[in-house]
């Protein structure tokens, strides 16, 4: 009897889409700080896009996992989606995918509770996004059925190149100052300034 390929195709497509969304979210995050487009993009809008892409990527990862579980090609048990090494199919490379998804979920959720865990701790955790990207790339290359296809190789190469380029830009350039009213005359002192806290 021929197996229905719907979930297998869905698993492959959602995995690839999640990787693209993760890459786009990282690029938006890097644009947020380095501001390569100057004042053409509003910080608050880029922040929204960054968060939206992250959430969408997480949703796509969930679809990737559910599709793999429902599919009959690799027969993925539920534990294989959450416990590294529990997958009978390519255990090492699937483990990388499990760790990628779990760490990404942690990073996305941490934004909403950043005051509770401490903003500095949240910021440190945010650096782990690079680990998510590296593990996600390796997972795609090693576990992905389509990785040998020229279009898939081009996609991985493009994603890695874009993130490396944007990170280098972020590290090497001084960000543009946001538009402010700084050079305008200060408003009349009708209010009492509140002292700012400092470290």
């Amino acid at each position: 009897m021929k197996t229905d390929p719907t979930f297998w195709l869905l698993a492959r497509a959602s995995g690839m889409t999640a990787y693209v969304l993760l890459t786009a979210s990282i690029l938006a995050g890097l644009v947020l700080k380095s501001r390569p487009f100057g004042r053409a993009l509003k910080v608050s809008s880029v922040t929204d896009v960054h968060r939206f892409l992250s959430l969408l990527g997480l949703g796509m990862l969930a679809l990737h996992g559910v599709s793999l579980m429902l599919d009959q090609t690799v027969k993925m048990p539920l534990a294989g989606l959450f416990v590294p090494g529990a997958s009978p199919y390519r255990p090492t490379s699937v483990s990388l995918g499990v760790l990628t998804a779990e760490l990404m979920a942690l990073i996305v959720v941490s934004f909403s509770i950043r005051k509770r865990i401490g903003v500095r701790n949240w910021r440190r955790l945010h650096w782990a996004t690079y680990a998510v990207f590296v593990m996600g790339t390796l997972h795609g290359l090693l576990a992905g059925t389509d990785s040998s296809q020229p279009w898939a190789k081009a996609l991985y190469l493009g994603a890695v190149g874009a993130v490396v380029f944007a990170t280098s830009w972020r590290a090497l350039t001084r960000p543009t100052r946001p538009a402010t009213a700084a050079r305008r005359p200060a408003p009349a002192p009708t209010t009492t300034p509140v002292p700012e806290r400092s470290a």
């Binding site: 700080k33 910080v43 903003v119 946001p178 700084a182 209010t191 509140v194 700012e196 470290a199």
Partner: protein
Amino acid sequence: MYEIVIDRSLCSGFGACAELAPEIFDVDDAGLVSIRVGQSEDPSVLDAASACPMAAITVHERQAA
């Protein structure tokens, strides 16, 4: 009336606040945000506070005397 407090030790100079409420927030030459006024009735301070990725802005609502 909104009372604004900035924790400059958290500020990373994203500048979202200065974009949303330029009459209230400013980015100084060091790339950190400072406040032009400490109190305001402009509700845009709430947008500015929630837009700060570093959660460096706190706004307290006070009843006008």
